[in-house]
């Protein structure tokens, strides 16, 4: 499946813990994150392990490496993963003679900002991680986010989706919901066999921002919980409509789906909700 991604800025600080330069690169990365809406901070560990989400960001973004010492771990690793169009900034080369930590950071940020401003943001097409099924999306931008609503699903006003696979239904959190709650680190799911009524709360998701209850969008008996979320709750953020699903349910009455919103209706609703949440004008 091919999807469109907005090319972003991927900042890879070396993260050298026991080296002064490492601390400078981290501080610079965090400052750049504040200044550039499209910036993401890469993880040396995730890039080393070629984690799919990390590799997608790495491949589709403008890459800027921040090396803290002469070993140049950041740029060496980035080169090793196949890119040769990197912007490399080295603490020893650029600010090695500067004494003050804050001044080092400021000067590095100034150079990085200048480099980044030379680059033109563009949109490219790339191959996404293969989902377990074909999913087509509606996409809209709001503020600095891109909101995706999967076509063919039904949505509740609580921002959970339902997918009817012809046998059972699968439910999960919408892209809007996962973006609002941010990084999920803990998921508490109920056991299969549990009967639920429409809009019951069955389990919870906890993120760095908030703990929310999982509100099922239709009645039925849970036949499977997504156990992969126990070890990898971040799937809810990485793949909300596919690998981050929550429950598979044997519905009591499939006609309940008619009470829910279709994708285009939900997109209108979700954009209004996003606008209200962030208090900014929707583009």
């Amino acid at each position: 499946m091919r999807c469109n991604f907005v090319v972003r800025t991927y900042i890879l600080p070396c993260a050298g813990y026991d080296r002064p330069g490492g601390r400078v690169t981290r501080a610079v990365a965090e400052k750049l994150l504040e200044e550039f809406d499209d910036a993401v901070i890469g993880s040396m560990g995730a890039l080393f392990k070629e984690r799919p989400g990390e590799m997608r960001d790495y491949r589709t973004s403008n890459v800027i490496c921040l090396d803290g010492c002469g070993i140049k771990c950041s740029s060496e690793l980035a080169l090793d993963r196949g890119r040769n169009d990197l912007t490399v900034l080295s603490v020893p080369d650029l600010v090695g003679s500067v004494e003050e930590f804050e001044e080092k950071v400021k000067q590095m940020v100034d150079v990085a900002t200048s480099e980044l401003n030379k680059r033109t943001q563009r949109t490219s097409s790339t191959v996404s991680e293969k989902p377990s099924r074909e999913i087509e999306y509606l996409e809209e931008k709001f503020d600095k986010f891109t909101l995706r609503v999967a076509k063919g699903l039904k949505y509740s006003d609580n921002d959970f989706w339902v997918w009817d696979d012809g046998n059972h239904v699968r439910i999960g959190a919408s892209d809007l919901l996962q973006q609002m709650i941010s990084d999920v680190y803990f998921v508490d799911l109920v056991e299969p066999g549990t009967h639920v009524d429409m809009f019951d709360d069955v389990g919870a998701m906890e993120s760095t921002k908030i703990m929310i209850e999982i509100i099922v969008p239709l009645s039925g008996t849970i036949v499977e919980s997504n156990r992969a979320l126990e070890d990898s709750p971040e799937l809810i953020n990485e793949s909300p409509y596919d690998r981050g699903w929550l429950y598979r349910i044997e519905p009591d009455d499939i006609d309940e789906l008619e009470l829910l919103r279709n994708a285009s209706d939900y997109m209108v609703y979700a954009l209004a909700k996003a606008k209200e949440e962030i208090g900014k004008k929707v583009e």
């Binding site: 813990y17 040396m44 560990g45 680190y185």
Partner: protein
Amino acid sequence: MKKVVIPCSGIGKAFGAVAREATYLLSDGEYNDMFTTICLPLLMTDDKESKRIVMESDVYTIDGCPKKCASVLVKHVGGTPAMEIMTPKVLAENKEHKPETVLDIGSGGRLLADDIVNLILKHGGSTK
């Protein structure tokens, strides 16, 4: 020989910031005669000295997400962590110790870092 604490490289993530805060409390604070840290990326570049330290020392890894980069990299170079700490799981035990943001982990984040420090000290049998 000092024990080695290695946090994950989760920059831009609150749990990564907590992992580093806990590491610095041990390696730069009052326990710096007992603990040190080494640069995680050096393990990726197969740096001989870092690899030797990991192989010969008690290593404590502090990871911020289930990808467990710190633990995985220690094992990648042949080391065996004496203890693998998963920051979110420590938080799950004490949910009020929640970090705020990556730029300022806040009082909750600092308490979480203290929890991690205490786990390591307890495991290492060394409290001052």
